[in-house]
Amino acid sequence: MLDQAYSRRQFLGLAGGLASFVGLGLVGCGGAGASNAADKGSAAAESVSGEVTYDGASSFQALVEAAAEKFMDANPDVSVSGSGNGSGKGLTAVAAGTVTIGNSDVFAETKLEADQVKNLVDHEVAVVGMGPVVSKNVKVDDLSLEQLKGIFSGQITNWKEVGGDDATIVVLNRKAGSGTRATFEAAVFGDEAVDFKGDAELDKSGDVQTQMASTDNAISYLDFSHFDDSKFNAIKVEGVEPKSANVTDDSFKIWATEHMYCAKDADDATKAFLEFMLSDDVQGKLVEEQGFIPVSAMKVVKDASGKVSAK
């Protein structure tokens, strides 16, 4: 009996070895054209393979992509790809299993049902500040939260009411699924419901950049990494400059933690990639290079209900 079991295990081991050998052979043949990349891969301690897909927030997609490039250099058998269709789409997609990672500017609790959140694992990869931006021709350079509330609820419609020229304010909003919008509205409106839609609702942060550059008298909001002084001006809020340093101690109020969610039973490749996102390779260098704040640099934390507390 024992003998039999042993032999079976032996057989399994042999079969496994054979299978992996065949698999390696296949990879070897397939990778003939990319031998250079394969060499690099074999240098990595343990190589994983598989497919990682993500969808979600466009605000920190650039960071994820830059990290994915590095990750794939080390793991040539992993494919990391995805798109940025808004936090809402990302969270729904990871909950439904159409992607393996959902990127979000907001906590999953705010967009999904409780029983869906239960099956997700959160990874906080960075923090980003978000601030209002105005067209180049607008002279206003500081707005209070109260004034922002007025503008984005449709109460204030002219720039002269907030100290600017006599011109109608053009409000460029993001789509309802956007995490940037959710973060901005949470900071400006608190729990109040907003049903003002503005003059346009745009799909992505990049669209806001384009529209801001070509529209006069406009106001919108973007995360710091999408600021572009050549196209529009980022303005102060309550007199505080929109700078990462001011976010770390919560003196600049509008900021969000960037979450990457995966399912509890995610595959190895996905887990390895998320580990890589939290490793020093990414947290130490890449995060700041891409205009984000490492979570470790924060002096405060924000919970799912939006409450800020000292660390």
């Binding site: 397939g30 598989g50 794939m72 790809s81 196209k231």
Partner: protein, 308 residues
Amino acid sequence: MASTRIHIDEARLRRVKKQDRIATGVLAAIVAIVMLIVVSMVAYILFEGISTLFQPGFLTQPARANGTQGGVLYQLFDSFYLLLITLSISVPISLGGAVFLVEYAPDGPIRDIASTAIETLSSLPSIVVGMFGFLVFSVQLGWKYSIISGAVALTMFNIPILVRVIQQALEDVPQAQRDACLAMGLTRWEATLHILIPEAMPAIVTGIVLSAGRVFGEAAALLFTSGMSSPVRLNFLSFNLSSPTCAWNVFRPGESLAVHIYKIYGEGSPEAQQIVWGTAALLMICVLLFNVVARIVGKQLARRMTAE
């Protein structure tokens, strides 16, 4: 009395003739405007995109930074790969369907139901086909965002066009041919396979290539089925069909050129704008090539057949 009557007629005649001239002038102006729109649009796209198109790397490099940098190599490949799979599913089905409707279906309820179904499919907005594809293929069958999911959605979009074209081609084969076949003791199936389809081949091929042009440019049905991104790295030499980096793996996500345009048209950086216009020019040139190829192939086939 008589003279006045002639007088009136002349005035009327002049008026009528003037009316005729004005109408002709207005119509000529309309045609001129239409031609101006078409020519200027094509010229504008080429003008904006042609410099990017010939930039080194645009056609040979993958996209970087979410499509705002680099080239469109993978998108170009995915477009053709999607098209290939779509055609290899939709052509046999459409051919069978059209043969049934023309050669077998007795006039009656079966034919009515089938043609109504096909007509319904042809009039459905492509976004509805995309939603259905998302629900059934991507979510329920668990294919996620994948080439195969997109190709099946495109198939649904392509079948009505193809069935109609092939039906027309078969109907244009003279009835005498059919009668002659049957009189010689061939079955309908043999007659169709050996005589009617070869006879209709030029028109069928033209139709398939023309429909390929429409499939190639379709985007709305793909947004939720094949997805809005392509793997960052693809290996064209790998034939390990389960590897996510294998270009030929039908279960990997893929992004067509048309979807790529929709994805990045709003991106503000000058480089992204160049890529958008380059992609648009590329897409348009491909579609125009399909048109030209369809005509040439159709003519060649027809000539070879009549020469025989």
